[in-house]
């Protein structure tokens, strides 16, 4: 189980109380299913992060989801060319809410050394990014640090955030519609 210290709980005889929101946050944070969108050397570092040496599965993340529909975290690791941009956006749109994005490495975050007509100068031009990991490529420790920060966001996210006007506005900036906000307002 994840860290329980930063959770507000009431301890009683044989039971423990907390809010539903915090319990859901804890459950979500400890079973994030990542979708690796790896295109180059950052992808290799991410593979090392998944492997037994660094072992991402310690954090409930051993199940790589290669379909966007069953994943919570989009890990973009590597150079995204402008031609690939619409593909990445489509992958993001196909993920179900709630969803998070981890941008791994200089290329995904800013275009990196590829300041050229064919490369997207940072994926935040087409999709919202939650956590950026610097490095060219970042070491697995850095990627794990990024993942830890994602976990922190997930654990403390309000259950209502995805239905909020602010969130709709944020995605609106990227011309993405909030699809499964539904009537649960």
């Amino acid at each position: 189980m994840g860290k329980i210290e930063d959770l507000q709980v009431i301890n009683g005889e044989g039971y423990q109380l907390t809010t539903l929101e915090q319990a859901v946050g804890l459950a979500r944070a400890n079973s994030v299913w990542p979708l690796p969108f790896a295109t180059s050397c950052c992808g290799i570092e991410f593979m090392a992060t998944m492997g037994s040496m660094y072992d991402l599965s310690r954090f409930g993340m051993e199940r790589m989801s290669f379909t966007p529909r069953q994943s919570d975290l989009l890990i973009v690791a590597g150079t995204i060319s402008k031609k690939l941009g619409p593909v990445l956006k489509k992958v993001y749109e196909q993920m179900a809410e709630p969803k998070w994005v981890l941008s791994v490495g200089a290329c995904a975050s800013s275009g990196g050394i590829f300041d050229t007509y064919s490369v997207l100068q940072g994926i935040d031009r087409i999709i919202p990014v939650d956590v950026y990991v610097p490095g060219c490529p970042p070491r697995p420790e850095q990627i794990i640090d990024g993942v830890m920060n994602i976990h922190k966001l997930v654990r403390h996210e309000s259950m209502r955030r995805r239905y909020s006007e602010e969130y709709r506005h944020l995605l609106g900036n990227y011309e993405i519609e909030v699809t499964n906000a539904g009537d649960d307002k």
């Binding site: 060319s81 402008k82 031609k83 941009g85 800013s110 275009g111 300041d115 050229t116 007509y117 064919s118 490369v119 100068q121």
Partner: protein, 165 residues
Amino acid sequence: MTNNELLEVVQSVLGSDILGHEEQYDALIIEIAPKDVLRIVSTLKENEALSFNFLTLIGAIHYPEDLNRELCVVYHLHSWKNAIRLRVKAFLSIENPSIESLCSVFDGANWMERETYDFFGVRFENHPNLTRILNMDEMDYHPMLKQYALEDGTREDKDDRFFGR
């Protein structure tokens, strides 16, 4: 076969079709007129003594200063049988960069011609599908022409003072 021997054979086969020849990095280069490219390359392929059966590469070079021959289309030919190579160049004007497609002779020319069209805007006549192959379809220019900047124009974090410009 040395380049001199190769040049003799090629000259005996093509005669006055060769507008010029030179040698760069140990490779023999001949220049031809763009309108003859299909016939000449077919001849080089079919000829028994040469049999250039493999088209290694099609590319282009942009020389903005060379008036009326700004675009150079380069063909690298390779004969597997004789282990010899030949480069063929044809110069086009930038106003009308049009040249015959080699797809009827070499199937492999298809994608290489699309790439050359994509990056330099060379129009290969009678190509079955002359569309962009590597760049995004929405791109409205040919990026390897030298009047276009290599760098992405939308990047804001680069301060010229820190890059010596």
